[in-house]
């Protein structure tokens, strides 16, 4: 079953530059889908459109059975988005921020303590959640963003460069959480420049160049006999 589907997605900036050009993708339950491309290729634009952050000019995006244009609230209830540089509300404490996000997702009070405890213990953030976010390091902010994204058990996790700024242990834990999410019937759609991680972690990848999709499918099929890095360099230089 398709959790995220984009059909001919096109996003144009300043009335002329096509940041994303007729992009068609399908991400199914159980997929860890890596989205690869050079800087400015259109990865973040695609992820933001899929998360309902900005509008697009042509095409469709469906999350589950809902259209993000027609029913953005229903779509957003099913997903969680974490940007590459998570700027959080700095005047709130970690707990207050996570609770605020839980309010926006209408999470019942009874469900909150154990979910928050589970993930804050896992990411070793429990002692820090009582402090204001402005006192956090970049990695701690990222962990807080991850905890808040997981608090409503999303069906689809959209992550923009999720491993940047995380220490090795947090990186390992995040991969674990991603595996757990897909084993529960969810899907992950994330962008990365770390091709080794994509090759090992993902079951599917897509490569985007200047807004156009140039490869898409299971990792083994896309890269063939060579490494993902070699394949990426080959298509970039073509």
């Amino acid at each position: 079953m398709s959790i995220l589907e984009t059909k001919n997605l096109t996003k144009i900036y300043n009335s002329k530059r096509k940041a994303v050009d007729s992009l068609t993708l399908s991400i199914e339950a159980g997929d860890i889908f890596g989205f690869i491309g050079a800087n400015g290729a259109g990865k973040t634009t695609t992820l933001k459109a899929a998360a309902g952050i900005h509008d697009f000019d042509e095409g469709e995006i469906n999350i589950g059975s809902y259209s993000i244009k027609k029913d953005p609230i229903a779509c957003k209830s099913m997903l969680a988005y974490i940007p590459d540089n998570p700027d959080l509300y700095e005047h709130l404490t970690g707990y207050q921020y996570i609770n605020f996000i839980a309010d926006l997702y209408n999470i019942p009070t009874s469900q909150r303590p154990q979910t928050i405890k589970k993930y804050s213990d896992l990411f070793e953030m429990t002692p820090n959640l009582e402090n204001v976010i402005s006192s956090y390091s970049h990695g701690m902010k990222q962990r807080t963003a991850i905890i808040s994204a997981l608090v409503h058990s999303p069906k689809l996790l959209i992550l923009d460069e999720p491993f940047v700024g995380l220490d090795p242990k947090a990186t390992f834990l995040l991969k674990q959480v991603m595996q757990e999410c897909v084993s529960n019937g969810g899907a992950i759609f994330f962008s990365t420049h770390v091709l080794d991680v994509a090759e090992k972690l993902c079951n599917k990848v897509a490569i985007i160049k200047a807004g156009r999709l140039i490869a898409n499918g299971p990792v083994g099929t896309v890269k063939g006999n060579q490494s993902l890095e070699d394949f990426f360099m080959e298509v970039q230089d073509a």
Partner: protein, 520 residues
């Protein structure tokens, strides 16, 4: 180009979004509308100064014009710089980046001072050039004195800027010693503004000695700004000696202040930056709230955690509260005598809705509330919350702020004045209509023209397109019925009710149209 000029150029380009304006199809329309607004404002002030100068000439007091213009422009620079010096000099987001560059602290400070100077010079230019032209055209030509007057235009902003920045420094330093630094910053800032305002008003106390008007004004102007005394005709010295001494003193004060701040800038910047960071840590109660309540509480916390936002957007409500408290403490007659209104009772009975509405129109945090999300906007954009709920939470904070001023003013006026039922009804309902209109207009404009890429809160809180336009339209809407009453003799109350009804209708249309949007 030296490094100070390079830094200044970067600030100007960034502040006025010059590259985005040049870029085809981006912010050109916004810039055009804003340009028209600013030009209108400049023309208004020029016209006001020309009329004031002409009035002085008609009274035979043309020699007072230079001192008057210096005093008034210095006072305006002082008040406006108190409101923004800390935002420009300290605590801006680009400080970390600038500190890592191979530039001296003094060069960073100089560029920031020069930037502040450019904005203040414009104020002085508007006041002094227009008044000065009227003065020159109506007095026997004195080339040296005239030259010194126009030259001093470049120096007049310096001492008020330094004084206001010093007050800003004191506020940063004093409030950093308290746990709730933000609250103390606000208390100190409002106290400083109140003190400056009080000094200004009390120095200009009206007198009844019409025959000695010249002597009275000559006494009042230096009380408003003592250094303006040097622009009055002195018999003991040549007429140009005063302005020349003024120029030297201004340059010296500016140089010394810049040196002082350069030495301690790192410490002061750190103090300013920490002012809102370390609130009391406490575990949140994991209790469910509605989306609106969660957003409203977040928004309220965000508003009160921003010293810059409260100071600038809360000023109208604060003035209304001060007025109301004064009315409760003093008799209406005493208050009227104090602010120069002969029959305060009948004035307020007639103009109470206008007074309350005008103060509320000056306070519009909604006009910058969406932009203030800044880099946090992704949180709202990716959450399953409708634009309507987000907008409602921001409008509700604005209305909450207005409610403080409104209820206090209504209580004070009703307690102290005798009004007929229609006047009471007008006082109760008309300000509500204006409050809703100002709030919705600000929120809608900010939704349409957001700016999330700011480096300094002041940019969106004080000088952004939605803030300026909503303030101008808000004040114009309050002024319209009064002008209709004064110029066309249309009865005030029907005019006020008519405009209030139109404002409510416009608010409703704007609100509904904005709520249809699917993306914030």
């Amino acid at each position: 180009m030296n490094r100070t000029c390079l830094l200044l150029r970067a600030q100007v380009i960034n502040y006025f979004s010059l590259n985005e304006i040049k870029h085809p199809g981006s912010k050109k329309n916004t810039a055009a509308i804003m340009g028209v607004g600013v030009i209108m404002l400049i023309l208004f002030f020029c016209a006001y100064n020309v009329l004031t100068a002409q009035a002085l000439i008609q009274m035979g007091q043309q020699d007072l014009i230079p001192a008057y213009m210096v005093a008034i422009s210095s006072f305006a620079v002082l008040i406006l710089t108190i409101l923004r010096s800390n935002g420009i000099l300290f605590g801006s987001r680009d400080m970390d980046m600038l500190s890592a560059l191979p530039v001296k602290a003094s060069e960073i400070i100089s560029s920031k001072f020069l930037f502040m100077y450019l904005l203040n010079f414009l104020i002085c230019f508007v006041f002094m050039a227009s008044g000065g032209l009227v003065w020159i055209l109506n007095t026997p030509l004195d080339i040296i004195r005239s030259a010194f007057y126009f030259l001093s235009m470049f120096f007049v902003p310096l001492i008020p800027m330094c004084t206001a920045s010093f007050i800003g420094l004191f506020i940063v330093f004093a409030s950093s010693r308290f746990k709730n630094k933000n609250v103390f910053s606000l208390v100190f800032s409002f106290a400083a503004l109140g003190a400056v305002g009080y000094a200004g008003v009390s120095s200009m106390q009206p007198g009844n000695d019409i025959e000695n008007l010249g002597a009275m004004l000559a006494g009042q102007i230096p009380r408003l700004y003592p250094l303006s005394n040097w622009f009055l005709n002195q018999t003991a010295f040549p007429a140009s000696a005063g302005p020349a001494a003024f120029i030297i003193l201004s340059a010296a004060v500016f140089y010394l202040f810049r040196m002082l701040v350069s030495v301690k800038h790192g410490v002061l910047n750190a103090l300013a930056g920490t002012s809102w960071k370390y609130t009391i840590s406490r575990k949140a109660v994991l209790k469910r709230q509605s989306q609106f309540t969660a957003l409203y509480r977040k928004e309220l916390g965000r508003f009160f955690s921003s010293y810059m936002a409260v100071l600038n957007t809360g000023l109208g409500v604060l003035m209304l509260c001060l007025f109301s408290i004064s009315l409760l403490i003093m008799s209406p007659g005493q208050l009227g005598q104090y602010i120069g209104i002969n029959d305060m009772n009948s004035f307020l009975s007639k103009y109470a809705p206008v007074v309350i509405a005008s103060m509320l129109s000056l306070s519009c945090p909604a006009a910058s509330s969406i932009s203030l999300e800044g880099k946090n906007i992704w949180i709202l954009q990716s959450s399953p919350v409708s634009v309507k709920t987000i907008l409602n939470s921001k409008l509700a904070v604005n209305l909450t702020l207005h409610a403080f001023g409104y209820f206090l003013a209504v209580f004070a006026i009703m307690a102290r004045l005798s009004m007929n039922p229609f006047q009471i009804l007008s006082m109760l309902l008309i300000p509500i209509a204006y409050s809703i209109f100002t709030t919705v207009l600000g929120g809608v404009l900010n939704k349409k023209y957001p700016n999330y890429a700011w480096e300094n809160e002041m940019l969106v809180v004080k000088q952004s397109f939605p803030v300026i336009v909503s303030n101008i339209i808000g004040i114009a809407t309050v002024a319209l019925p009064v002008l209709l009453h004064w110029t066309l003799s249309i009865p005030l109350m029907p005019a006020l009710w008519g405009v209030a009804m139109a404002a409510i209708t416009a608010s409703s249309v704007m609100y509904q149209k904005t709520c249809e949007s699917k993306f914030i």
